[in-house]
């Protein structure tokens, strides 16, 4: 068979909603795009633990501490599901970790913003996890089987993340004037970065959308962003808070909310490494990796010793 025949069979599967599995033939660019996207997604889950980990020791009650711990532990699990999915495409875990630690691979820019108050734990859960969920629900139907299955597992765990975040804000919104102000302040700071999570505008692209054709993605950035805005505008009313956007209003013709322009200079600055916490996050990951080295080595040495003992017993 010729390469064109393979490509035809491959695209035929995509078009008829047959999942692509690790041992199936796939175009090189499909493999590369998936490796890049899945590993970056994994890095985002892992780095995403840092802004929240920052508050575990300072959570206002034992209950909140337990919840936050559980959430952060979930994110570690999400990272692992995704690294495993990416590994099926032929890149080793070590190589992916190295790309993260050297700054060669990126992760979601949202985690380069600082978490300044307890209310940020609410805003992150509600808005950041909320934005991530919309994307991840879509990815449950992505064309690469292992990625789709990882997403199904992740989506099952995510909804508690968003709900606990909203509940944190709900409690604050009914509290003292200071607590209410803290709630509003966190929403103000996280709103625009959350909108930026969906990436550049659709019109920014002059290239054909291969990711859509391959059904790696099934909705455009702008579609997902609009879905997010419509969802949040309804929910913020329950909090009695406001979103920091004067242009936000219902559009009868579009049947959607209009919203203001994102600060794209800020977006690109953070993507390029100049956000408030880019360096801090990468340093923290590197430090954790170096400090954990002896644990990994000791575990391996112990396993080898045990295996040897067993061998001797058998012999």
């Amino acid at each position: 068979m010729q390469i064109q025949d393979f490509e035809k069979i491959f695209q035929g599967k995509i078009d008829t909603e047959v999942k692509i599995e690790p041992k199936d033939w796939m175009p090189d660019a499909y493999r590369k795009t998936n490796i890049r996207q899945i590993s970056q997604h994994a890095h985002s889950e892992v780095v995403g633990m840092l802004p929240e980990g920052n508050w575990i020791s300072r959570a206002p009650s034992l209950k909140r501490k337990a919840i936050l711990l559980a959430k952060v532990q979930d994110e570690a699990g999400h990272g692992l599901y995704l690294y495993s999915a990416a590994e099926t495409l032929g890149m080793s875990r070590d190589e992916m970790i190295e790309q993260l630690l050297t700054g060669k691979a990126k992760y979601s820019s949202i985690f380069n913003y600082p978490t300044l108050t307890w209310a940020d734990m609410g805003a992150v859960g509600w808005l950041v996890d909320g934005a991530a969920i919309l994307n991840q629900v879509m990815l449950c139907r992505t064309s690469y089987g292992p990625y789709a299955r990882a997403m199904v597992r992740i989506c099952k765990e995510e909804s508690f993340h968003q709900r606990q975040g909203f509940e944190i804000l709900l409690v604050l919104s009914k509290g003292t004037p200071e607590q209410k102000a803290m709630c509003q302040d966190a929403i103000n700071r996280w709103w625009w970065p959350s909108l930026m999570m969906f990436g550049p505008k659709d019109t920014e692209s002059t290239n054909s959308d291969q990711s859509m054709k391959w059904k790696i993605k099934r909705k455009t950035n702008d579609e997902l962003r609009q879905q997010f805005v419509d969802m949040v505008v309804g929910q913020i009313k329950v909090l009695g808070m406001t979103l920091p956007d004067a242009d936000l209003k219902w559009n009868e013709d579009r049947n959607h909310y209009d919203f203001g322009e994102i600060d794209w200079n800020e977006f690109w600055a953070v993507v390029k490494g100049n956000g408030p916490c880019n360096k801090e996050r990468l340093d923290a990951r590197n430090q954790a990796h170096v400090e954990g080295a002896w644990v990994r080595e000791a575990a391996m040495a112990y396993a080898e010793k045990k295996a040897k003992k067993l061998e001797m017993k058998v012999a």
Binding site: W25, T33, Q37, G77, D94, K104, K106, N207
Partner: protein, 119 residues
């Protein structure tokens, strides 16, 4: 082909222009394991995913932490991935061909009068 996918979607953060030279040793040599979970007594173990671990005991413990945090399992199997032999999808045609023309193996192949009732 490559320049077709420059557009960054959510979850795709683009390529970094200048990657720092690698100075970090990340080699751990931990093995890859496949995890199978029995969700309820009486059901089969089902493939749940994979993970890295130094040995079988650690693989079980990691599997518990990663795949059963919400009581998804009552029993865990782990097996090193290298011990699994998989059929080749390219040979699926020949491999399953013998089953294709044997429709008489299905109960629906037999036309029986309604009077027989449920059989």
């Amino acid at each position: 082909m490559n320049n077709l996918i420059i557009k960054q979607y959510y979850g795709d953060y683009g390529e970094i222009e200048t990657g720092a030279a690698s100075t970090i040793s990340t080699e751990t040599a931990w093995h890859l394991w496949e995890v199978f979970i029995r969700s309820k007594q009486g059901l089969d173990h089902k493939h749940a995913g994979s993970l890295h671990a130094a040995d079988a005991q650690m693989a079980i413990e990691n599997a518990r932490d990663v795949y059963t945090r919400r009581m998804e399992g009552v029993s865990i199997w782990v097996v090193e991935s290298k011990h699994i032999t998989a059929s080749n999808p390219d040979e699926a045609g020949e491999l399953y061909e013998p089953a294709i023309d044997k429709v008489y193996r299905h109960p629906t192949f037999y036309d029986l009068p309604d009077e027989v009732g449920h059989m």
